[in-house]
């Protein structure tokens, strides 16, 4: 039984990593070039995968998805700045989401909105470090607002996935 569970956890994590990779690529297609003022900035569609992993496998695995997706995108021809953006953004989002998911009165929506905001702030910090000027901070309010909205949408998308995975798990165990 426990081996069945471990295998199922591993499968879910691997599936979510694959989903995160696809979403990282798809997001670049969805948003027209130049609509966001900072090159390489992402709204964090791949947060769906991190959030699903957090809710249906666990914290450590969610961190693994956040880190590995950046590494794999870099390995498949990403650039170093893009890698730093997604790594710092993803890990900040994970930290905030795994912390807030423990709070009694915060649902997936609050967790996702806060995570998306942290994702934006993390990326701006990287942009400040790369350009070594604080100028880019002027974009922060707009990018956080856009990301927070995206975060609400992401929560909406996450819920059916977590429910479906629960359902499959329950059937498997019977």
């Amino acid at each position: 039984m426990s081996m069945k569970r471990t295998a199922y956890d591993l499968t879910k994590t691997a599936m979510m990593l694959a989903l995160a990779l696809i979403l990282s690529i798809v997001e670049a297609w969805l948003l027209p070039r130049g609509i966001l003022p900072i090159p390489g900035f992402k709204l964090g569609l791949a947060n769906v995968a991190i959030l699903v992993t957090l809710y249906s496998v666990g914290r450590k695995e969610a961190l693994a998805v956040a880190v590995l997706r950046s590494v794999v995108v870099l390995a498949f021809g990403g650039n170093v700045i893009g890698f730093l953006f997604s790594l710092v953004g993803g890990v900040s989002a994970w930290a905030v989401m795994s912390l807030l998911s423990d709070f009694e009165h915060i649902s997936v929506y609050g967790v996702s909105i806060a995570g998306a905001s942290a994702h934006a702030i993390g990326q701006i910090l990287v942009a400040i470090l790369v350009t070594k000027t604080v100028y880019v901070i002027g974009y922060l309010p707009y990018l956080v607002l856009t990301s927070a909205f995206a975060g609400a949408v992401i929560a909406f998308l996450t819920i059916p996935v977590v429910k479906a995975l629960d359902h499959i798990g329950n059937e498997m165990i019977q």
Binding site: P37, V57, P141
Partner: protein, 152 residues
């Protein structure tokens, strides 16, 4: 079997409770995010207002070093400012009316899409070249790093 509230717990570890409806804490989270943005926006707005009547300066920074910081009125004749570094090549058009990135060899050209920079607060960022171009207000406290190298 761990089947509490329809929750399938795959292992002994505690997973977050499945809360799928908007709760009171979410309102708090959303308001905090909005407040954070409002404070930042307010700050930029006040800063912009305070410096409204000061002359616009163009400031070009690469890797945190100020390459050029000059009053826009010093450019009666338009100038094409060239930046060549290990990161790449850029040409920035500067006139007393506007500043824009004319050429850049970066892959996504987002700096070029930013268009004309005309008043304080406007700016363009080119991450691959580590270059930030901004219009700032004159008599800024940061005049120590003024370097005037105009390569034509």
């Amino acid at each position: 079997m761990h089947k509490k509230d329809g929750q399938f717990n795959t292992s002994a570890k505690a997973l977050p409770k499945r809360r799928f409806r908007f709760c009171s804490g979410d309102v708090f989270v959303t308001l905090s995010v909005l407040l954070f943005c409002a404070i930042l926006l307010g700050g930029t707005w006040i800063y912009g207002r305070k410096n409204k009547n000061k002359p616009p300066y163009v400031r070009i920074t690469q890797d945190g070093k100020v390459l050029l910081e000059k009053d826009l009125r010093d450019f009666p004749e338009p100038v094409e400012y060239q930046i060549d570094s290990d990161h790449g090549h850029m040409v920035i058009f500067i006139s007393s009316e506007k500043v824009y990135v004319k050429e850049s060899d970066c892959p996504d050209k987002i700096c070029m899409h930013q268009g004309d920079l005309t008043s304080p607060g406007d700016g363009a960022v080119c991450l691959p070249n580590r270059v930030v171009i901004e219009i700032v207000s004159g008599d800024d406290d940061d005049t120590s790093g003024k370097v005037d190298v105009i390569a034509k």
